[in-house]
Symmetry: none
Subunit: 210 residues, 4 copies
DNA sequence: TATGAATGAGTCTTCATTCAT
DNA sequence: TATGAATGAAGACTCATTCAT
């Protein structure tokens, strides 16, 4: 509305970025709703308000958007985890509390989890994609594992399985619950994940430390 | 009816049954490998050694095979559970031991779990299929929940969540792990599931019985 | 129910004839409703209560039923015309009255006319069928032309066109009206045909017959 | 806009229009030759020199081309009739002369009439198409009826049937004759239609106009 | 950068017909 | 005669991708 900005609402670069952004968001929506194979580029472009050509001006192929989504997914998860990991020195009570927050975040966006599943499924089917995917996955698994390991450590308990293994299991639990949630069921993923976590801790042997 | 013709007639019925069986098996393989949407009827028929028409002589549509697979899945899972549930009077140790067997069975066939995921995904996308799917799912959830409830009961503990909820979570865990296993990782689903279960039990409050 | 007849309700030959008859009738219905190309043998056989094989036990091909229908059509039309032609000696009033009856018969069964159109359309597309069709058509045209010629003759008038040409025109009129009637409009074919006929007669030059 | 680019840009638009035009013309040919159901999109596209995809870039479905043909048919017939109707003040001799020209025009293109029949047949079978078809048909019937009514009026005679009914009959006659003409017979539709019209007039009662 | 017409392979499904029973 | 599973070709339509503008 202000005289200066109104005239040239978006610079060329901004407009291009907007195009790309809208295409990415629309692609995510449709991949989640219909699956990677079930979402067509025509639909993505049209729903975002552009032509198919616009899509190919921004991405080299269908898989290319999925890679972009993967990168964003990775970044977002890394951000989540960095909060959890910044507690290196904190006490265990505080860690559990923050894990609680993290778990309840999982529920917020079922789409987010469904995208994770689509990425995983596509990695099972495309060699090129699998390579990229593996990197992200391994890192996430490693870092979440570290958090879990620290937690057990702080509590003076021995994890019943290798921490990375436990991390993978929590992610599996979260994905599997997202899959169910899509259908009908009310959402209790975060609460369940914490229940499982507390159970594991309770059952873990005390370290013969000292 | 006569001894001579009976052999021939049977071989014809057998041949038809064989056709159907091979199509079903091939469909399952391809659904698991490429997803429901990614598996084409042409591929299914050809890989099974038949024409596309043969497929439509046996199934009314692509979704129809998936329904058949759903029915078989249901039957198999029901069989699994009925073994677990036949322990009504048994002691808790025995129940845990049998759950151990059941959990390790889950790993044996990753395909089986992936099919489960494909079924769930397709139910999220097809109204017609969702109706049928829901029935199977609810029943399975209910029965597994009952087993879990009994187990806590025998041990004199209060489940930290409604047993049906816990059942769903164990299934989610198992499906999520199957998704991961497809890619690369070695298989430890059963062991993890039991670790989680024992943890839950350990952490459960004792019943104020008596 | 009576002990003797109930047991063997239809002799083998009767039963076979019935099968054939039902297939023919169903084929006619579906050809009229969906067109020759739009009616499938599967549908015909199923709607008649038989298998596809039964169809091929009675007819050598899809066109073969159409030929059978053509033959019946021919026979029925011949019967109609033979009534009109039996009036050789009658006076013109009597002939017009009978033509009136004939014309009103046309309305009775729009299906009948639509079948005529289907036959004509198929004759335009199949060489083999065209040959058979031409015979029937020419004969019908000739005989109806003869009736018309006689009528003008009795009335001492000269037909404005060759009688066979007029016959063809009346058949065209009747078919064209049937085509319209299928959609929505009420039926007035017979009345219109007679209006046209009376007009032609009124406009015809008187014969200079001395 | 600049003289140099304008030529190129136009030639692109022209090229697109040409594609569409060729597809439409080829569709018309094949609909007439094989019927709507008998003409495949593959054949239409190939015969026009394009891929099937090109067809779907220009039309949303098979029925969509038929609708385009219907619109053109309507436009052409409206043009024909507007010539006939511009004679409001003219004398009856002049009107008959123009009707003569109109009638002989009908013969010129048998394809045009066959298309009319295909349109009518398809309207009998497709709800969606029927709605569009009805509009065109009703308007044409109404306008031709008006011309016929005027003609009788000028001649001081009472039409033997409601003018719209007579209009429908003339169209039926013309369509029915086109059907026959496809097979073998020489063309005399226009002459016959005029013979029928003159007959109707001759037979019509004089108005008791004082 | 963005357009969208055009491509060619691929989708699910239906067809007329054959053949072992 | 009658069955219906199986065939192979063809049906309408969709897709990811290319390319001239």
């Amino acid at each position: 509305m202000s005289p200066t900005t109104a005239r040239k609402r978006l610079s060329r670069e901004e407009s291009q970025a907007q195009t790309r952004e809208r295409l990415i968001e629309t692609a995510q929506q449709l991949f989640v709703a219909n699956g990677y194979g079930g979402a067509s580029i025509r639909d993505i472009a049209n729903k975002a308000g552009y032509s198919q050509g616009a899509f190919y001006s921004n991405f080299s192929s269908k898989e290319d958007v999925l890679l972009e989504l993967l990168r964003r997914h990775m970044a977002a998860e890394a951000a989540q985890l960095s909060r959890l990991m910044s507690n290196d020195g904190r006490d265990s009570e505080r860690m559990l509390a923050e894990l609680d927050v993290w778990a309840s975040t999982l529920n917020q966006d079922a789409d987010w989890c469904m995208l994770s599943i689509e990425l995983q499924l596509h990695a099972n089917r495309s060699k090129t994609f699998a390579a990229e995917y593996q990197k992200v996955w391994d890192q996430h698994r490693f870092e979440l594992g570290r958090v879990i390991g620290q937690l057990f450590n702080k509590l003076g308990r021995v994890p019943p399985e290798e921490p990375g293994e436990l991390a993978a299991a929590f992610m599996a639990l979260s994905h599997g619950l997202a899959l169910q949630r899509m259908s009908t069921r009310p959402d209790s993923s975060g609460r369940l994940i914490m229940a499982f976590l507390r159970g594991l801790i309770a059952n873990a042997e005390r370290e013969n430390a000292e």
